[in-house]
């Protein structure tokens, strides 16, 4: 029988099929079907059961790491100033640049500086002339004041003398009138209680005269007091007149202008160039070419000798893991590391929920403006049960883990996932501390090739 015969083999459909042959075919078909079902079920079994990774709960502390980006700031900064209002010609440094003492920082415009020197000189001259005028006025004023005081004193003395003489005259007139009235009463029997109609007219005239002299005396006395008060007030007014300090003020003004001019002249002689007073880094720059200098510092220089401090922001939650006095690590550019100490942690007023952390660095570490990463690790208390975060699930507000349990079924022992509700005590990005019906012998499902639910069949991967 060759291949061609096999290939061209043709069935004889005219021959009848016996029962035995038919039964044999059915049996063969049934066996093939059963074999296919068995293979299918085995394949389905291996395909459907979730392969899971498991881990036993451990007794451990949970490390909390705080990593924050921040910048180094100088612990101390020294301001560099220039006269205000002068045009800046050029700026030789930029923010963050390191400079040495004597390095050129910026240059003021020479023409503008010369113009300002000239203006200040003229202003000084004007102020000096004003001072001279004021001084002359002041001298003249003093003489006038002295003369006024002298005249006032003379007026006072004269007024007092006049009133004294007037009073003396009035007293003498009263004394004479009283004596005349007494003499008349002594010579004549006069009953003073009688009505004027019954009294002697001479007596009445003497009595009225006396009374008039008495009133004149009292008026003179009163006039004397009034004259005294008036004269004293004049003297007091003279003493209380505003002192004229304009000359002194102008003198100070001249002095200030002289100082300002001398500074400008010194600047002009130096060519308008401002140099660094110390070695350090420029941390702030407020001058720019083409703009005028302000009254505030033109730039700030941070000297390395005072060291640097690191600042960053942390959330309120992270404050739990960082305290003043804690030792922290700082990673500086170029894979350099430095140890630091937390100086302070202060809530940010303008940023709710955040706090500013300041860390001091040892001298000689870092540069101003340098970025750095703070790293601090705090270990929690020892927890009885910790599981990987990947084992933790949440439904609503409840946390749970899935543990592998062996159960008896009609097909034998099978492993399935059992849900165990737990309370979350603490956690970091990898580990969670929980409390619940867990023992250290439980195998907790931490992952798998598919999402595993409660009561799902599982097959733990060999560890």
């Amino acid at each position: 029988m060759n291949l061609k015969t096999i290939f061209t083999y043709k069935t004889d459909r005219s021959r009848p099929v016996t029962i035995q042959r038919r039964a044999l075919r059915l049996l063969a078909g049934f066996l093939v079907f059963m074999l296919a079902c068995t293979l299918l079920s085995r394949a389905a079994d291996s395909l459907t059961v979730a392969q899971v990774t498991t881990e036993k709960p451990a007794r451990a502390a949970i490390p909390h790491t705080v990593e924050k980006d921040g910048r180094l700031e100088p612990a101390q900064e020294r301001p560099v100033t220039a006269e205000g209002g002068i045009l800046v010609g050029s700026v030789a440094v930029g923010e963050g640049q390191q400079v040495k003492a004597g390095d050129l920082l910026f240059t003021l415009d020479a023409d503008d500086l010369a113009r300002q020197v000239l203006e200040k000189q003229l202003e000084l001259q004007r102020a000096q002339l004003q001072l001279q005028e004021a001084q002359q006025k002041a001298a003249l004023g003093e003489e006038k004041d002295e003369l006024s005081a002298l005249r006032a004193q003379e007026d006072y003395d004269m007024a007092m003398e006049r009133s004294r003489l007037k009073l003396q005259q009035a007293g003498e007139d009263r004394r004479r009138a009283r004596q005349a009235l007494r003499d008349y009463k002594n010579d004549n029997d006069v009953d003073e209680d009688e009505d004027d109609e019954d009294l002697d007219p001479t007596y009445i005239a003497l009595r009225d005269d006396y009374r008039a002299k008495q009133r004149a005396y009292e008026e003179a006395l009163s006039d004397q007091d009034r004259a005294k008060v008036d004269a004293e007030r004049v003297l007091e007014d003279l003493e209380l007149e505003d002192p004229d300090n304009s000359a002194a003020t102008l003198g100070i003004d001249v002095r200030l202008r002289q100082l300002e001019l001398s500074r400008l002249q010194a600047l002009s002689e130096a060519g308008g160039e401002i140099y660094a007073p110390i070695d350090g880094a420029v941390t702030a720059l407020s001058v720019a070419p083409g703009k005028r200098t302000a009254d505030e510092a033109a730039l700030l220089l941070a000297g390395a000798e005072a060291g640097f401090r690191f600042t960053c922001e942390i959330t309120d939650d992270e404050r739990e893991y960082l305290s003043p006095g804690d030792k922290v690590k700082l990673e500086l550019p170029g894979h350099k590391r430095a140890d630091g100490t937390v100086e302070s942690i202060a809530a940010l007023a303008d940023k709710n929920g955040f706090a500013k952390v300041t860390v001091s660095l040892p001298a000689g570490k870092g540069e101003a403006g340098m970025s750095a990463v703070l790293s601090a690790t705090t270990r929690s208390e020892q927890y009885r049960t910790t599981v990987p975060v990947s084992a933790l699930h949440k439904e609503g507000e409840r946390y749970y883990v899935l543990a592998v349990r062996e159960t008896e079924s009609v097909l034998g022992v099978e492993q399935s996932a059992e849900r165990l509700d737990v309370t979350l005590l603490d956690r970091n990005e990898t580990t969670a501390a929980v409390e619940g019906p867990l023992t250290t012998d439980d195998w907790i499902i931490t992952g798998g090739n598919k999402t595993v639910r409660e009561n799902d069949r599982v097959r733990p991967e060999a560890t």
Binding site: I6, F7, T8, Y9, K10, T11, R13, A44, L47, T48, V49, A50, T65, E67, K68, D69, E313, T315, F354, V389, S390, L392, H393, K394, G396, N428, E429, T430, G447, G448, N449, K450, T451, V452, R453, D456, R457, V458
Partner: protein, 393 residues
């Protein structure tokens, strides 16, 4: 003239069908990277830049860190070209992380250190600069100038920038890169748990990308089915010759399998769709309920730019694929080739169609990825059809 047109109908239909198939492959390819992502919606407390840094640091400390990008979309933003003074309203994607996770076709990818770099879509580039090659140009948004690093295709005006570290932007989405993950859903949930975001809505794009891939493979499936039908038809006619019939069955299966294999069909069922017990009918109920809720949510939620990109790619892939099938189903292509010359003509049309498709829609990247599918599947299918026709009844 009519005869010549009738002769050309088949090759032309084949040419067009292949070009459309190439288009379907391109669009499915564009959807594929997005299918490996999941978006986590931060509903409770949106995260700012410091929180994003914290998340990155915490993720880096884990054994298997996931790549992720936090982002936020601001609609109705006006951008302008400082040089030309032109304006356009766009949606701005503010990112913290690799932009490639959201915009895989935009090159180069932006990173948090991108500074003033930005990506814009082609139509925005044309509106602002009059030229789609806008790399290096300046775009002004919110008073800040950004340099265009790349231009990408998007159905709507889009500007993507890395968020200013000093800004107080609050991100409300996290896109996770789950490529290569055995259990993407589990990993996304683990990520959410790790960063204190459990219970937040997770949108997985794997289903949509798989649908786009299905449309890309649909012509190949149709080709395999048509081949199998032809061979089985021949086998049925040879039932009196059992050896020949068996060989034809084997040939039918082999030809269909070869076409599918060359087309890149690798059947796989997501593990999440397989119950752990076949008898567990509650699994199907739970699965159906969960999926229905997820898809209903997704259907009604606001579609952000990455969603729009994925859905557009899916729709384009579906349209191209179905159009290719309609063209391939024309009677002119179902008829057997009249002779060797006609068959050679068809083969030439097949190669031209593949080339045209590659040249029109993809270029080198598509050529490298779907080379077997486009260059070999169709000729193989034609050759197998020709072989089936040659088998005597």
């Amino acid at each position: 003239m009519t005869t010549a047109l009738r002769r050309l109908e088949g090759p032309l239909a084949l040419l067009l069908a292949l070009a459309l198939w190439a288009g379907a492959c391109l669009f499915a390819g564009a959807a594929a990277p997005l299918g490996e992502r999941a978006a986590l919606q931060i509903g409770g407390a949106p995260a700012g830049v410091p929180a994003a840094r914290e998340m990155a640091a915490a993720e880096a400390r884990t054994e298997h860190p996931l790549a992720f990008t936090l982002w936020r979309q601001e609609d109705g933003q006006t951008v302008e070209s400082p040089a030309l003074g032109r304006e356009r309203t766009v949606s701005v994607l503010m990112l913290w992380g690799e932009s490639a996770l959201l915009l895989p076709d935009a090159r180069p990818s932006l990173a948090p250190a991108a500074g003033n770099g930005c990506l814009i879509d082609r139509t925005t580039a044309l509106s602002l600069f009059g030229d789609a090659r806008a790399e290096g140009q300046k775009v002004r948004w919110n008073g800040r100038d950004y340099t265009v690093r790349g231009v990408f295709d998007a159905p709507e005006a889009t500007l993507a920038v890395e968020a200013d570290p000093a800004s107080e932007v609050l991100f409300d989405r996290v896109t996770l890169d789950l490529s290569g993950e055995e259990n993407p859903r589990g990993r996304a949930e683990e990520f959410a748990m790790r960063h204190g975001l459990p219970g937040e809505r997770i949108v997985q794009y794997g289903g949509l990308a798989a649908l786009a891939r299905f449309f890309c493979l649909l012509p190949a499936l149709a080709a395999a089915c048509s081949l199998a039908v032809r061979f089985f038809g021949r086998a049925r006619a040879r039932r009196d010759w059992p050896v020949q019939q068996a060989l034809l069955w084997i040939a039918a299966v082999a030809a269909a399998a070869a076409v599918l294999w060359l087309a890149g069909v690798r059947p796989a069922v997501p593990q999440d769709l397989i119950p752990t017990r076949w008898s567990d009918f509650s699994f199907w109920e739970t699965l159906f309920t969960e999926r229905r809720a997820e898809w209903t949510d997704y259907l009604w939620m606001k579609k952000e730019r990455p969603d729009v990109l994925l859905l557009t790619a899916l729709l384009k892939a579906a349209a191209c694929s179905l159009a290719a099938l309609l063209l391939a189903a024309r009677p002119a292509l179902r008829r057997p080739a009249a002779g060797p010359r006609a068959f050679a003509f068809l083969l030439a049309a097949c190669l031209c169609g593949s080339f045209a498709g590659v040249a029109l829609v993809g270029g080198g990247e598509l050529l490298a990825r779907d080379l077997p599918m486009l260059w070999l599947t169709a000729p193989l299918w034609l050759a197998a059809c020709r072989a089936a026709e040659k088998i005597p009844d």
